[in-house]
């Protein structure tokens, strides 16, 4: 069992170490996301302050929306931005044939690599954002713009669990993007479709709770909610009891479904693989 897992753990470790080397990129991402967060918070504050009666009936208060914005900025690296860039290079050069020579299960191999890369990009950025939005801003007297801590300890634990499921979900989407790259021979197309969907449907652009009431159920059930919105709801403490179980259940169900789809698609893609270059 342990021996069987060794190559996958090695792939994970190698990828994690490579990604963690890019400190300047992490710092740049951090500054960009702080900037983004500040712009968004000013816009939300203007909307909330302008309309007192509408703000009173809004499903999220202003400070909850502000916290939501910071969590989303901190976990931006969790989004399935693109396929694995090394796989894209391998497809372009034809080196993807080497992947077939390894005595491993390719889906798990790619999935471990994707998980490690997302995690390696996520951890430094998330820590920096939490430090900035949770500590620096309140100390600077900007408490109204700050990230507030989770509602309670159990909520924090559920948030962590939900983020981990989001990580698995994101990795399984990245593997699907790898497969699309293998099929279309270009990495650009797949991510051009998935990234915008992920940004809006995860709540990154706008908290899902602020969408019209009629589409709420649909929004909570779709897979991308698990990449950000559901973890945020746990942090804010708005999911309890049955709804909490439902949220975690929907995340698990989508991970299982995307894994099965990914494995089947990978089998088909390898069955009729085109190698370009030479």
């Amino acid at each position: 069992m342990i021996r069987a897992a060794t190559p996958y753990l090695a792939a994970f470790r190698a990828r994690w170490r490579t990604t963690m080397r890019y400190r300047a990129a992490a710092l740049a991402g951090f500054v960009t996301q702080c900037w983004w967060g500040v712009i968004n918070i000013m816009i939300y504050a203007a909307f909330y302050h302008g309309a007192h009666d509408a703000a009173g009936t809004a499903p999220l208060g202003l400070h909850q929306t502000v916290t939501y914005v910071w969590i989303m900025q901190g976990t931006l690296a969790l989004m399935p931005w693109s396929c694995d860039p090394e796989i894209a290079d391998a497809v372009r050069s034809g080196a993807v044939a080497h992947e077939l020579l390894r005595p491993i299960d390719l889906w798990w191999w790619w999935s471990c690599r994707a998980t490690a890369r997302i995690l390696g990009r996520l951890v430094p950025r998330a820590l920096l954002i939490v430090a900035f939005a949770g500590l620096v801003l309140p100390l600077a007297g900007l408490g109204a713009w700050a990230l507030r801590p989770p509602a309670s300890l159990p909520d924090a634990a559920l948030f962590a669990l939900s983020i981990l499921m989001g990580l698995a979900l994101s990795a399984s989407i990245v593997v699907l993007l790898n497969i699309v790259t293998v099929r279309t021979l270009s990495p650009a197309g797949g991510s051009a479709v998935i990234t915008p969907l992920a940004l809006i449907l995860s709540g990154n652009l706008l908290p899902l709770a602020l969408f019209p009431g009629a589409v709420q159920t649909l929004l909570i059930l779709q897979p991308f909610a698990g990449l950000g919105d559901l973890p945020c709801r746990f942090w804010l403490g708005t999911l309890h009891g049955g709804r909490a179980i439902l949220a975690l259940g929907q995340q698990a169900a989508w991970i299982a479904a995307l894994t099965l789809i990914g494995r089947a698609a990978l089998r088909r893609a390898l069955h009729r693989l085109e190698i370009q270059g030479g």
Partner: protein, 263 residues
């Protein structure tokens, strides 16, 4: 061959290159159109819930949104060479080849790629602008049309200036500086809303130090007939050209100091 004819030839070569992978290209266009449309959908949802923001209606915000997206989309079609400069030209040493050719480096980089993908953003920007014009009363056409074109020109100059500045900075870092995204993508994000929603320090920074407000917010106020200083607002897009000129000077200085990476 004059500079413009040469640039057109560059553009043709780049267009046929992009059509080599039609499947990926179509998905890219569809995705890009979806991204940008969703940006406005999010604004629509906010207005649906809150009604107005500081007295602005959704139609007025559509005007700001459309303008800044058109400006940035046009810049992206021609400015990609600068956006990718650090990674694709400096680190690889490809820039040394450009220096050997008897043409201005800026012209060659403008011709590096004529991208079709931003046309999706352009299309939706134009559509949202048209929606805004249908919903909002503006000044008569003989003023609005030239003013709009002047503002677009100023905006393209501004965003191109940002990309050229990014490229010039990368002579120091030997990689494309993602931090400049706060002015490109972040600029589009900020320019989509009227500037009076923002804190005063932010508004001043983004109007006087970095003339985004001068090429988007101020001219659009003039078009709506709401500007407190109509004359200044009419002239404001010139700040975009001044910004571009400064960045071009900076570029020239940086190129003169360039020492190859040697790879």
């Amino acid at each position: 061959m004059n500079g413009f004819a040469l640039w057109r030839r560059y553009a043709r070569a780049s267009l046929s290159g992009q059509m080599r992978y039609p499947g990926a290209f179509l998905m890219q266009m569809a995705g890009h159109l979806a991204t940008t449309l969703m940006g406005f959908a999010a604004i629509w949802v906010l207005f649906h819930r809150f009604g107005t923001v500081r007295g602005w209606t959704v139609g007025q915000v559509a005007l700001f949104y459309g303008l800044v997206n058109i400006q940035f989309a046009l810049t992206e079609t021609i400015g990609y060479g600068f956006e990718r400069f650090g990674d694709d030209f400096l680190r690889t040493g490809a820039f040394d080849r450009l220096l050997l050719r008897p043409r201005w480096t800026v012209l060659q980089l403008l011709g590096h790629q004529f991208r079709l993908r931003p046309l999706a953003r352009l299309a939706q920007g134009a559509a949202i602008l048209a929606l805004g014009l249908a919903l909002t009363p503006v000044r008569p056409l003989p003023f609005t049309l030239p003013m709009m074109l002047w503002a677009i020109a100023g905006g393209v100059a501004f965003f191109l200036g940002v990309l050229i500045g990014q490229a010039a900075l990368s002579f120091r870092t030997i990689e494309s500086l993602e931090i400049v995204n706060v002015l490109t993508y972040g600029g589009v994000e900020a320019g989509q809303y009227p500037f009076d929603l923002y804190a005063r320090w932010f508004r001043r920074l983004m109007t006087y130090a970095i003339p985004l407000g001068a090429v988007s917010y101020e001219p659009m106020l003039a078009i709506m007939g709401r500007s407190p200083h109509p004359m200044a607002a009419t002239l404001a897009p010139a700040a975009g050209f001044a910004f571009l000129a400064i960045m071009l000077l900076y570029w020239q200085v940086a190129v003169r100091r360039h020492a190859s990476t040697g790879s």
